[in-house]
Symmetry: C2
Subunit: 120 residues, 2 copies
DNA sequence: ACTATATTTCGCCAAATAGCGAAATAATGT
DNA sequence: ACATTATTTCGCTATTTGGCGAAATATAGT
């Protein structure tokens, strides 16, 4: 029960759902997601912590950055099905499209440049 | 997005999840669910309203009672998949088993007797 | 019409949560 | 060693939410 509730609570915030959608294109570091949503780094970090605790994202630290990604096929069924459901439900929505467009621009920009904007 | 969030928010409360599981055996009226969870009728009513607003349950009023039930196959895919996911994830949990056991007893008891206990 | 009963709505309180900025932590570069 | 940078943790505030009881609503019985 707790596991399911951790997942549904994690999925009940728009910015966390948008984060999962953004990660479909591959891993992102915290400051890239921060740039995408225009929220404070601490806020994004908290959201990622909630998603991570629910098992909906995995992270990897390298150099100064922490990269978050969606779990792969080896993840528990309950997690994979939840993610598939979100992906499917949000496909072809305006929110997803707008985020994807903005993310494309962010990915073309130099990473340190993105981070500098957030951490001053 | 709003539709998905209505669903995930509805699913992020233990009593609402338990309600959905309880309805697997067929429709129940408010006072039966109230008896099952030992909460105030107004509280249960609110929970059912949230589930209903998300499309996760349907209701039917007859005589003095309002019966709530799970939607059938004709429900939107997003709803059916969410319900399947919950059912599957909660199958074989202690909570579900205990509720099922208590529900069995409640269903054997006369409906007016159940309601009288709640509404005094 | 009046009473009884099942449910919902409303007003309130306590607990949980999203947001921020500041401070702490961890890793890199000088 | 020290400064810089990316992320996290902490403390705070505003908002949301779950719970209750009382009042309102709706329906059935007398």
């Amino acid at each position: 029960m707790q596991e399911l509730l951790a997942i549904t609570k994690a999925l009940s915030d728009p910015n966390r759902v948008r984060t999962l959608l953004a990660l479909q294109g591959g891993e992102l570091c915290v400051c890239q997601i921060t740039e995408l949503f225009g929220l404070a780094p601490s806020t994004i970090s908290k959201h990622l912590s909630v998603l991570s605790h629910a098992g909906l994202v995995l992270s990897r630290k390298t150099e100064r950055w922490v990269y978050y990604r969606l779990p792969d096929k080896s993840a528990p069924v309950v997690i994979r099905e939840a993610l598939d459901w979100v992906k499917k439900s949000m496909a072809n929505t305006d929110v997803a499209a707008a985020d994807a467009r903005k993310l494309k621009i962010i990915l073309k920009t130099d990473l340190t440049e993105i981070c500098r904007r957030q951490c001053r």
